[in-house]
Symmetry: C2
Subunit: 327 residues, 2 copies
DNA sequence: TTGAAAGCGATACCAA
DNA sequence: TTGGTATCGCTTTCAA
């Protein structure tokens, strides 16, 4: 494998000069640059960033940990994140932690060992040990998809409790008096639907028929979810689903059972992914700017890496209820 | 930042011993291991894999380049790939090349600079310069989503030309005599729909009304696609769409225009993603085992990294036509 | 504008 | 079972 020294020898200069041609060509005379470039082309030299990073203490690597990229929520976010990072010359180390985030501890070790210049994490809940390790890493860290009163470093997201509350109030405002929910067993989803149920109960509604499914969710779980709700005595009213996939499944099952929507049941989703936004007029949902989260997270990271300061540790990107009650 | 030497000093042993405790604990006496572990915990030591990789010439990093992860085709593949790699102790460096693969050259440099132990690429067409660089990297490489008679190293995928041919023959067999297509302007999609058109024309069918959309595709492009087909004189018959998203959009537009499916038009998709598989009985599609591609690619890589030999350079995972003509 | 020397933090290899 | 030494390929720093 060709090294910097090989190129230097061929070009008749020192290794340092080659390094400069690669990293700060403006500090080298034009003719030397030309000479070195020729040698680089001839040898097919590929720099070794491991050595470079070790020496300079800078990897140009941003690590990202999300539970899964199956499903368009996180993948859209990652796409916009990469686009922004790529432009700034950073690459992405992707870690998939799964649901529940059992692998997070191990993953974190593996990732910190690579000395990324920055880190993007999903969620704001980490073990005390992990929090400590994160702080000791002394790199900019953005926690996404949630808010926290004491983020490890920075946070870009929205309040899942606020979502649950808003949905409950929205549906109450529509006049519904019978409620159910199909929710995923993941930390943030749980926060949404538990708050939803709580607000409803505070308004004298009971029971709120509940069905919990594993994460990540899919259409089948939604279909099954409605069946279980019905088995549990739910006959009509409003159903909050913790994801669009679940909501879509509920709609399908309703259709299969001949239930009218929103006549018999009203369905509320979460995410506003393409499928829910464009194909299902009977489904209302909660819109999240997932591209915005990625872009914003990148911006926070890059600002700090550039030596700047990010105003405020947390950024609430908010959400919106998309109403699509009428067909 | 704590180093191996710091830990060694605290534990009263040499750096090498600490290194062994971390990498091959079985070669160190139990008491020494305990002593060292204590020192590691106390210092919160995080190994520096940059230095380790530089010294050992092994990064435990697999680089993956795909056009995009928006859309479930590639993301499902990546998910299964990571799962398999993670289990074997590898991490993933993700590169998004975009459509068309304009960034591929630059991305490749950036990625090879990190000296991954293996590489997964999308597609089999690379510039001569890139092919040369790939070979010179001397690492196992798997090209996925397509087949090639002369892969750079290994290939796991299926023939897009065969898909186009199979679809054309399937629809001809169903008795259709008027044809159209809505296809993405990406290399592999183009291969599918051009073959489709070619086979039809060889069977005396003309015209095949064609509409080309940019990649990546979405539902809106499908809706717009059908409108344009109709504007171009297409009134009834079979439509092949180069992705499920397009096909779904075509169905929606058909519904909006009051066209019956499959009465007036038959719609053929590609991908068999969840949405097409579970929600659209009127849509036939081409099923690809995208999880299988990821799993298999990982297997090829890991076998080679383990010193083994992969029998055969190319692996055709095939495809299947999923018939869902009747509602 | 260029170069020489000294690390960066680990592992390989050989010796004890 | 343990330790010493050379080395991996680059950048930093300082001097010319």
């Amino acid at each position: 494998m060709t090294t910097l020294a090989d190129v230097a020898k061929l070009a008749g200069v020192s290794a340092m000069t080659v390094s400069r041609v690669l990293n700060r060509p403006d500090t080298v005379s034009a003719e030397t640059v030309a000479e070195v470039r020729k040698a680089i082309d001839k040898t097919g030299y590929v720099p070794n960033l491991l050595a470079g990073a070790l020496a300079s203490n800078k990897t140009n690597l941003i690590a990202v940990i999300v539970p899964t990229i199956t499903g368009s929520i996180f993948s859209a976010c990652i796409q916009s994140l990469t686009d922004a990072l790529d432009e700034a010359g950073y690459q992405m180390l992707l870690g998939l932690s799964g649901y529940p985030a059992a692998r997070e501890g191990r993953l974190l070790t593996a990732i910190l060992s690579r000395r990324p210049d920055g880190l993007v994490l999903t969620g704001t809940s980490h073990s005390p040990r992990d929090r400590r390790r994160l702080k000791e890493a002394r790199i900019p860290i953005v926690e996404i998809w949630d808010l926290s009163h004491r983020p490890v470093d920075m946070a870009v997201g929205f309040s899942h409790a606020a979502v649950g509350k808003a949905v409950a109030e929205f549906l109450l405002g529509k006049g519904y008096r019978r409620f159910a929910m199909v929710g995923a067993d993941d930390e943030r989803a749980r926060l949404r639907w538990m708050t939803y149920s709580q607000v409803l109960q505070n308004n004298g509604i009971r029971p709120v028929v509940e069905v919990v499914t594993p994460a990540p969710t899919n259409l089948w779980m939604g279909r099954d979810g409605l069946s279980r709700l019905i088995a549990d005595g739910f006959r009509d009213g409003a159903i909050f689903c913790s994801s669009d996939a679940l909501a879509h499944g509920v709609l399908l099952e309703a259709q299969a059972r001949g239930l009218s929507v929103p006549g018999d049941i009203a369905v509320m989703g979460f995410g506003d992914t393409d499928i829910a936004a464009y194909t299902v007029p009977a489904l209302s949902t909660v819109r999240i700017d997932r591209f915005g989260i990625g872009r914003h997270a990148a911006e926070c990271l890059l600002t700090r890496l550039g030596g700047g300061t990010v105003p405020g540790k947390t950024c609430d990107v908010g959400f919106a209820i998309i109403e699509r009650d009428s067909t």
